[in-house]
């Protein structure tokens, strides 16, 4: 009996300690020091580390949130073509293929000079070639559609329930090769399913996968770049994250810079 009481007491103490340790844990903050020091005015979107239809969704929807964040965004289509002609698309593909062989690797490994000096060198070269102050790399970690067959006969007959899942890594490198910002975000969206009338409505107003992909890409880009001010309209969730600092053409530029200065709270 004494042993049971002692065990329960230990459990209670353990629960309290663990519970309160979460409460008192210092919230991690993002170190914007290199970002503030570099103070980029312009952003070049680097050739995608993976090509394909999802790269197109991403590229079509990235300029607007970057520009609205207050940056000069190097013209996407023009620069993607120019850099492809200069051989950088191929180099981006090679970089990814060497990295891909490492099991469990992440895009963050790419900036590790001991493993992949190529990406940092590439950022410096691209900045020099275009005059950009910073270069944004994105890696599509995951982008898939899955038909959910667990919803029963009606759901799959009238309107397939489709799960869309996107997971992207972002990496912003300054013209001198400093890492300024990195972020990762995954978003899920489910279309279809639901009750009979929802099914009928969905079937009549069915968005194409392309439309959904574009909408999700737009949503992810906004989430990543603006972060704290944006909600995922499809899932209704807020995503706390560390946004890009606002650029020089944004009305909140000075205030944001002052807030992110080292030591400022």
């Amino acid at each position: 009996m004494t042993a049971i009481v002692r065990a329960l007491a230990m459990l209670a103490i353990l629960t309290t300690v663990v519970g309160c340790s979460f409460g008192t844990r210092k919230v991690a903050t993002y170190d914007y020091t290199p970002y503030v020091a570099n103070n980029p005015r312009s952003v070049l979107v680097a050739p995608m580390l993976a090509q394909g239809e999802h790269a197109r969704h991403y590229l079509a929807t990235v300029a607007q949130p970057l520009a609205e964040r207050g940056y000069y965004v190097m013209p996407i289509r023009l620069t993607q073509d120019l850099l492809a002609a200069e051989g950088y698309q191929e180099r981006a593909r090679e970089l990814r293929s060497t990295w891909r062989t490492e099991e469990g690797g992440s895009v963050w490994d790419l900036i590790d000079e001991t493993k992949h000096p190529g990406i940092r060198e590439m950022a410096i070269e691209l900045a020099e070639l275009t005059g950009a102050d910073s270069v944004l790399f994105v890696y599509i970690r995951d982008w898939r559609h899955e038909v959910d067959v667990s919803e029963g006969f009606l759901a799959n007959l009238v309107d397939e329930r489709m799960n869309h899942h996107i997971d992207l890594d972002y990496l912003l490198i300054g013209a001198e090769g400093d890492t300024l910002w990195r972020a990762r975000k995954g978003v899920e969206y489910t279309r279809g399913g639901g009750g009979f009338f929802t099914e009928i409505w969905n079937a009549r107003h069915k968005a194409s996968d392309d439309e959904i992909d574009t909408a999700i890409a737009r949503d992810v880009n906004r989430l990543m770049i603006e972060a704290q001010r944006t909600r995922n309209e499809m899932t209704g969730n807020w995503f706390p994250s560390y946004p890009m600092l606002v650029g020089p053409y944004h009305p909140a530029y000075e205030a944001d810079r002052m807030r992110r200065q080292p030591g400022a709270q």
Binding site: T16, A67, M74, T130, A132, D210, R229, H250
Partner: protein
């Protein structure tokens, strides 16, 4: 209790305030800095069907509409839009007009100067200037 878990009152307060204001936090999008019209849709379709002349023309029309709408309102066209239109003209062999647009982009956005000078050199070379 405070000694054991000093953040408890603050945590509770944050939770209450969060729940209270969650409904109010349906923040509207801030006013946009630039006109975009159907930029994203047309850009995607142009990327998706690069050999479809109609899609390329629609993207060009969208870019031109953004430029005209911005001019009418006395605002800067969004970053890159004038240059993208210039690039469209370059691809069609309208070199002089392309150069004019690259120059305008550089004058509007000093950050683009290096890139636009490069594009002007490319256009001049293709035009045999």
């Amino acid at each position: 209790m405070r000694d054991v878990c000093p953040n408890l009152p603050a945590t509770a307060l944050v939770i209450v305030l969060t729940l209270t204001f969650a409904g109010l936090a349906e923040a509207k999008d801030p006013p946009r800095l630039y006109y975009w019209t159907t930029y994203e849709q047309e850009m995607y379709l142009a990327y998706d069907q690069p050999d479809d002349e109609d899609r390329q023309m629609k993207l060009a029309a969208t870019l031109l509409r953004i430029i005209q709408k911005s001019d009418e309102a006395g605002r800067k066209p969004a970053p890159g839009v004038v240059a993208e239109y210039g690039y469209f003209l370059l691809q069609r062999g309208e070199y002089y007009s392309a150069i004019d647009h690259f120059r305008r982009e550089a004058a509007t956005w000093p950050e683009s100067k290096t890139l636009m000078e490069r594009m002007i050199r490319i256009a001049q070379a293709e035009a045999g200037l």
